[in-house]
Symmetry: C2
Subunit: 108 residues, 2 copies
């Protein structure tokens, strides 16, 4: 049971790890709106095409996105609708941190 629990946390951590890069978050955010091909995502992110391709491989391997061949292009889309919850929580943490900072500044 203890082992099962640990494996569960490792599985979750793998997902969190996939989210733990600004470029990948940017990609997921963009794919929330519409599906996009690699070249569009490459332009969006502003890194080398091979770099973006590897980021996409990470997301795909984690099950966060899927791809579809359309001619010579690969079109990616998000698999889950729950990312808004992720982002919302992140924002609330950031907001809370900001308030904490503000209090510190105000107390000077």
């Amino acid at each position: 049971m203890k082992i099962k629990t640990r494996q569960r946390y490792e599985a979750r951590a793998k997902i969190a790890k996939a989210l733990a890069h600004p470029s990948r978050l940017m990609i997921l955010d963009a794919l929330q709106q519409q599906e996009l091909c690699v070249c569009e995502l490459t332009e969006l992110v502003g890194s080398d095409q091979s770099t973006v391709s590897k980021h996409l491989a990470v997301l795909k391997n984690t099950g966060l996105v899927e791809d579809r061949k359309e001619g010579s292009m690969s079109v990616y889309h998000n698999t889950c609708q729950c990312l808004d919850g992720f982002f919302g929580c992140m924002e609330s943490v950031l907001k809370a941190n900001f308030k904490t900072q503000a209090k510190l500044v105000a107390s000077l």
Copy 2:
């Protein structure tokens, strides 16, 4: 504006990075129920005390937990209530992945 956006994604990634370790997820999960001191968390996680202390420092630095001195102990608690959303989303991704696997297996 583009810069601001990038910084926003970097800030989010920092949070995701803090979540991207099984031990830290375990800690956060435990702290959802009740506040706990370092020695309790150390026993829970099963790593060296210094290791757990560093994990807690990461979580604290990210604003995900806060600590309180109680005698010679440090008692930690979560700062945000939204982690359930995180975990729920993770679980739904895992479940979706499992279904995908099941389909693959069934098609053999």
